[in-house]
Each structure stands twice: as C-alpha cells, then as structure tokens.
Symmetry: C2
C-alpha cells in the first residue's frame, strides 16, 4: 500500500475503534499509580504491567518493562523497516496525589463519565496521552498494516516526581532508544477545540523552607510575645519573595533570562482571547501578577514563583493556643530558557538567609523535580507537520504556544540523545490537572488519536522534520 492508502486505512480503523476508547482509558485510570507516595508502589507496578500488555495488544513486537532504582520504565518497540526513520513516543503512567480527597465528586480511581467527560486522577495527565499514542499505532496495525515510521514507546512512572531516574535511563539505553525525533504525548493544547503547537516548556526548581524556633511547642499564654513565632517568621520570609503585585524579589533569580522576543509576545498576543470565560470557570474576578506582562506571558514564557503548600502548629478544628516550634513551606519556580535550576535554588537560599527574622533559623532544601526549560526552533519542520495534522482534525490552524508546565524529558532528549522533542498532546486547560475532579473529554480521545495517526504519516513524508540536532 502507498502511504496515502495506509493513512486512509488507519483513519478508518480509528472510526471503527473509537467506541472502545473511553472504556480503555477508564481501565487505565482505575490503577491508582500515584508516584509521590511509597504505599502506592504495587499500583505503580500494576500500571507498568498494564501499559506493557496494552502495547503488546497494539502490535508492538518488543515490549520490555525495565527496572530503575525507582519505578520501572516500559519500552515498546515496533521496528519493522530499517530504512525508515525512528520516532520515540514519550509518556508517563504515574499520576499526582489526590488530596484534598473530599473535593472530588467521584472517586479519583473510580472513573465516571459525566457530561461527556471521564473524571479521575490521571485521566488527562497523562493516561489519555499514553493511550491516544498507542491507539494511533494500533490504527495502523489493526488491519494488518504497519505504521509509516519505526516506533519506540518510552512510558515512565516518575514524571510527577520529576523523573529522577530518567536521565540515567536515557544515558544507559542509548542503543535501545536510538531515534531521529521524540514526541511527547504529555502536554496539551491551548483551549477546548483550539489546537496549538507547543514550541517550548518551562523548567522547574523547588525548595522546602523549614523554620524552627524554640526546641518544642510552647504555651502561647506563657511565652507568647517573648519567643519568636516560626509561622510568623515564615510569613515574613514568604512575603519577601514577591512584591505585592507579584514581581519576584529574589536577587539573582532572573540571571540569564533574556527579554521576551517581540515575535513571542506577538504570537501570544494573537491567541484567541477567551480569558473572561476562563476566569469565570476558575471562580475569579481578575488575573493577578506582574503588571509588566500579560497574564498569558506570565503563564507561559515568564518565570514564576509559587508557594505550593504550608504547614505549622495546630491545624485541627477549633483552637489550640500553642506557640509552635516549627513551620514549613514548599515553594516551586517555573523557569525559562537561560535559568539554571541549581542557580535558582542557590539564589533562594541566599535570599532566605538574608531575610530570616531574628529568633528563628530557616533552612532551604531542594525538592526533586528540577529541570531546565526547553525550546524548539520556531521554524522546525516537525512543528509544521504537527500543525497540519492538528488542522486536519480541528479545522483550525493551530497557534504556536509555550506551555507553562515542566516536562523535564524534552530537555533531556535534547541534551542526552541529541534529538528534538516535539510536543504532541491533547490535554485541555480546564482538565483540572493536579487538582480534584481531573477529567478528559471522550471526544478529545478520538480527535487526538486521529491527529496522531496523521502526524506519523506526515513525519514519514517529511524527512527533514526528523533530522537530529546538528
């Protein structure tokens, strides 16, 4: 068959198979593969086994579950023609924790379809992404055909804890993973029904700040007013990290950051403006943050600093008049090209040392998950193939966008395997990623699968899209 015939057959297969996609995703979501919590280790293994079996069912000929010092990586290869280029597809089977559990309307691991949406932890991030890519390959193999490129799927189980073992895995399995281009099935599009091609992603640096005062909790009636309060000290430290309008005040934080390029600002400014609807959906009256940049710039191409969690003293119901001995906060920063995670952590340490109030000690400890930002050349032909594939499905020309999140693997494919990583994924901004009531739209599974089928055909046609980094 010609490539065009293969594509037509595969698209027909998507048509035939689409009825089973929702059930497939719900099966996957039922596995509570939370990577941050060690008690979920058996569920992690079960999810890896599930992915391996699913790859085999889709026609992959070599499927291996490879142990790492952490969670296993599933590698599935379907290399059927040594003259064809090879494409790696990256995704992850692990998911975020579910807390606060009481805000979920249905069990996070008891997926439920409501109003055309499959609700459950990981439904969008990244179990739909993994399944869409597998289903696209399966569309080619379903009728006895073969995909138009050799494929290597690399599905890991530690993305939500920062992929600590992935760099070494890539380094140790260079031969197994030899390829011409990577595709990340983890990511998303600009809006519901509004496709986009992702040009870059931000990096991450995160720390925990621990503040200690007296050696034990004290009675506030006995020592209040005379012993420094670690919660109050922590509040002062946190307040010093940003000004009231959100400008980061940490010296050295932005070292290496270039001013935003006009082309980037123009591309972002040209995005369709559905911000009012988005605000309403978030229950907000207005955006917030550094007034020198548009909200979309702050969300995508500017560095950020957020407090992700805080705790100290008595948190139960009612009152306990304690003067606590400790408090902590978790702070994470999204980084842009030019920022080095280690240097950002060092800047945070220097800042905290400088502003820690009298009477307490503060320590700053790096948290896992750090990674550099990643950016493809905006004129890379793979981006054009991706745009055409999406346009064929969505009937709209995709916008170039920069994702605000962090997918450390993109920068690692670049740095370790010497290949570009094309984001090609279908999460939507309202999917409640990392939050209660995460969901993925049933219709989007099919749209994503069709677009991925087209992408593989398009890449096979456009060999210059598959050139490794020179």
């Amino acid at each position: 068959m010609s490539t065009a015939e293969d594509l037509t057959a595969a698209l027909d297969a998507v048509e035939r198979n689409a009825g089973s996609y929702a059930a497939d995703l719900m099966d996957f979501v039922r596995l509570p593969s939370v990577s941050t919590e060690t008690e979920h280790r058996p569920d992690i293994d079960a999810a890896a086994t599930w992915v391996a079996a699913r790859l085999s069912r889709a026609g992959f000929t070599e499927v291996r579950t490879i142990d790492t010092p952490g969670h296993p990586v599933v590698v599935g290869r379907l290399h059927h023609d040594r003259d064809l280029p090879t494409v790696i597809v990256y995704g992850h089977y692990d998911v975020q924790p579910v807390e606060p559990l009481e805000l979920w309307e249905s069990g996070p691991f008891e997926p439920e379809i409501r109003d055309g949406k499959i609700y459950g932890r990981g439904a969008s991030d990244d179990k739909a992404g993994v399944l869409i890519a597998i289903q696209a390959v399966e569309a080619y193999t379903a009728s006895g055909g073969l995909p138009p490129v050799n494929l290597t799927f690399l599905i890991e189980g530690e993305e939500e804890i920062g992929s600590p073992n992935l760099p070494e895995f890539l380094d140790q399995h260079r031969e197994l993973l030899r390829a011409d281009l990577a595709i990340s099935a983890d990511g998303g599009i600009y809006g519901v029904g509004t496709p986009s091609v992702t040009v870059g992603s931000r990096g991450l640096a995160a720390v925990q700040i621990d503040v200690r005062g007296a050696s034990s909790d004290l009675h506030s009636g006995m020592y209040g007013g005379a012993v420094a309060n670690p919660i109050m000290a922590l509040a002062r430290i946190l307040s010093s990290l940003q000004d009231a309008e959100g400008r980061i005040q940490v010296e050295g934080f932005e070292a290496g950051v270039e001013p935003l390029q006009p082309s980037v600002r123009q591309a972002l400014a040209a995005l369709p403006d559905d911000e009012e609807a988005e605000l309403a959906q978030l229950g907000l009256k207005s955006w917030w943050g550094d007034p020198e940049y548009l909200p979309r710039e702050r969300r995508n191409v500017r560095p950020t600093l957020e407090v992700n969690g805080i705790g100290g003293g008595f948190q139960g119901n009612g009152i306990k008049t304690v003067l606590p001995s400790r408090a902590f906060a978790k702070v994470s920063c999204r980084l842009v090209v030019g920022q080095d995670p280690e240097q950002v952590v060092a800047a945070l340490k220097r800042h905290v040392a400088k502003v820690t109030p009298a009477g307490v000690t503060a320590t700053v400890t790096p948290l896992p998950g750090s990674g550099k930002a990643y950016q493809m050349p905006v004129d890379h032909p793979a981006l054009e193939v991706a745009a055409e594939s999406m346009e064929a499905v969505y009937k709209r020309r995709p916008f170039p966008v920069w994702t605000g999140g962090t997918v450390p693997v993109a920068e690692q494919f670049q740095a370790i395997l010497g290949i570009w990583c094309l984001y090609f994924a279908f999460g939507e901004p309202d999917n409640a990623l990392h939050a209660p009531n995460e969901f993925f739209r049933v219709d989007t599974i099919r749209q994503g699968t069709e677009a991925t089928v087209r992408l593989l055909a398009g890449l096979a046609e456009r060999r210059d899209a598959l050139a490794p980094i020179s």
Copy 2:
C-alpha cells in the same frame, strides 16, 4: 479539736499519704480526656466519673455529675457546718490534644516516671491541680476530721476549649455554688521551687483567617504567576499584624489598655532572673518581641498576638506543584484588663479586610475560648494567706505575678457569682503545657498538697479574706 490541731493532723496525713500521690495522678492521666476532639467523648465521660469517685473517696458527702450541652461538670460538696464560710475549688479534668504525637518520648496517656517527673498529657494541666486539692481535703478527712471551711469542688471538662458552657452553668446553679471565695486549682508558680501568688490572668480572643482564591486547586505550571496564591496572600496578611519587632499593628487592638503601672513593672522587675537558664531550656539564643517592654512584661501583663497554626496546599513529603485554592491560619491574642474580646475580634476583622491582597477573599471567624482578663486587688487578704501558705512549704516568700495564660472562670466567678477567685496552683513553667512531653514533678504534688492544707486553715482564720466582692 482546735484549728491548729486539725492542721497538724492534716499535715501528718499528707506525710502518711504522699507515697500514693504519684500513682493517683498516673491513674488520672491514663484517661485520654481530650476535649477538642469529639471522638474522645467517651474518655471525657470516663474522666468525669473518675473525678466523682475520687471526690467520694476523699469524703465529699454530696457528689454529682451534672450534664451540660457540652461535657459534664462534676460538683462535690462537703458542707458540714453552716456557720463556716464556703470555698469553691475550681479545676478541670479535660486536656489538650497531643499532636505532634511523634515528639512524645512516651505515650501521652501511658504515664511514665522519669527522673522524678510524671510524663503524660494533662499531668500538669490540670490533673495534678485537681488531685492536689482533693488530696488536701482528704488530709483533713483521713483521720476522721473535717476541713476548716465548707468546700464545693467544681471540676469541669471544657477548659481547654474555652469553657463555653461554664457561664450558663454558674448562672443556673447559683444556689448550689453559693460561696464566699473561689480558688482556682488551675494555674502555676513562677519557677521550680520559686513560689508566687497570681494576682491576675490574661483574657483571650482567637480567630481563624480563611483565604480563598480560585475555586479549585490549579496546576502551578498553567496558572502560576497569573492567579493570586492564597498562601502568599495569607503570609502578607499575617506579616501585617505585627511589625518586625513584634509590635502589634492592628488598629484598635489596644483600645482600653492602660499603661503598665509602675508597681506592676517593679514587681515584675524584682522577679529572680533565671531567664538565661530558661532560654537555654527552650533552645533559644534570645528573647524576641516588642523592645519597649521586658520579656516578662510581654509574657504576663501585655497583650499578645500569636499564630497558633497554619495550613494550605500540599503538605506531604516531596513536591506537588499545585497552586492551592485555600489557606488558613489560627490566630489568638492574650488580652489584658481593659480589652474586650469581641472588640478585639472586630479590630482583627477590620484589619484583615483592609490588608487583604487583590485576587483573594479572606474571612475572619471567631474561635471559641474568648474571655476577659482578670485581676484581684493586690492587697486582697486572700493573697496574703496564699503567700503565707506557700512560704511555709517553699521556705521562700512568694512573688506577686500575673499569669500570661487565660482561665476564663476567674473572671466568670467575679462577674456571675460575685466572688473573687484566688489562684492557688503549682504548675511550673517547664512543665511543657499544651506541648509534647508534658510532665509534673512527683515532689511538687506533695508540696502543693501541703500548701493547700495550710491555705484552707489560713482562710478559716482570716474571715476578711473570704468577703465577697462588695
């Protein structure tokens, strides 16, 4: 027998009985009567039953466990001579929560004697106080005698949650509780082996501040930098409550507060200075707080504001890059004479409304436990009797002190029953009240019991110490 002979017989009884005091207290501590947590309700009832039985065993002739809308109040009366004055003894059988449990060296409800100290939650606050008073009465009844005054014990179970039902209880049982003076067996002395007589106690006003941002937790990579962070907003609100040196910045907070009287400052300045040792014991290098006042002034007679607890976002191990939708803090203030708890709460509400950053909403909700400060006339004869009773045991003249803590009942005896409340209790500042590893010294039980035996004899001799408030 004469009063002097009664006293001698009672002191002999203390000598005989002292060997059983530690076991008695440990029995009481084994009951986990935590009043803040509803799951401990059966333990609350068990503790009330225990107290009632203990009163009966000590010779009280009328013992009743009286229900309230909350926890029962145990009232034990030993009224044997209508010509004698009546003294109420107040204490409480409920205890604080035990968290953080991991910091206890032995189970909070598995009392253990180490180095002459009985460790356990409530060992000092207030189970030792209750038992010392019962044992003092028992010393009189042990040899077939009777105490030199009529006694009404009122032991409640809601002190650690602010005695919400006590005012109504006092009001409804005026006849049962008719008396000439109250004694609070809840309180303490200045230092280990350093007795003091407590002239007053501070009041309390407490609130919870809840800050809300977006309607659900968000992905910090997607919304960070563009949506207000409730933890950061809360940090700014808390930082605004005090300046960096601890001066409270809440407008109207000190309305009604008189400047410290020179006699009070002198009395406090004359206290023996063991502050270096105290700092070392607390693991601190220096005191902290408003430089216009001495630490002991800030701890005893000045109003305070402390953050007792804070929570928001992800508090587990590792990292979750969430932009949380909510955060809260619990703030409590110790009040001095002239401050009204309701007005202080109103001032906090106005302040928070004024300083809440853009992009979030903040609500301020009063917490239970509010009460006014209490102060006896410094020349009240009951204070002199108390001082003499302590001096006979400790061989040191007690100092007048103001306790920094709050015992709402003192002000309630004054306001509702029209009688003064004399603090007469033996907690020591190192007892880790409200904290892990709370303890009470075995030797102090006996010292307290002997002093209380002497107090009852002294009050019987000095009828002007028993005059109701005119």
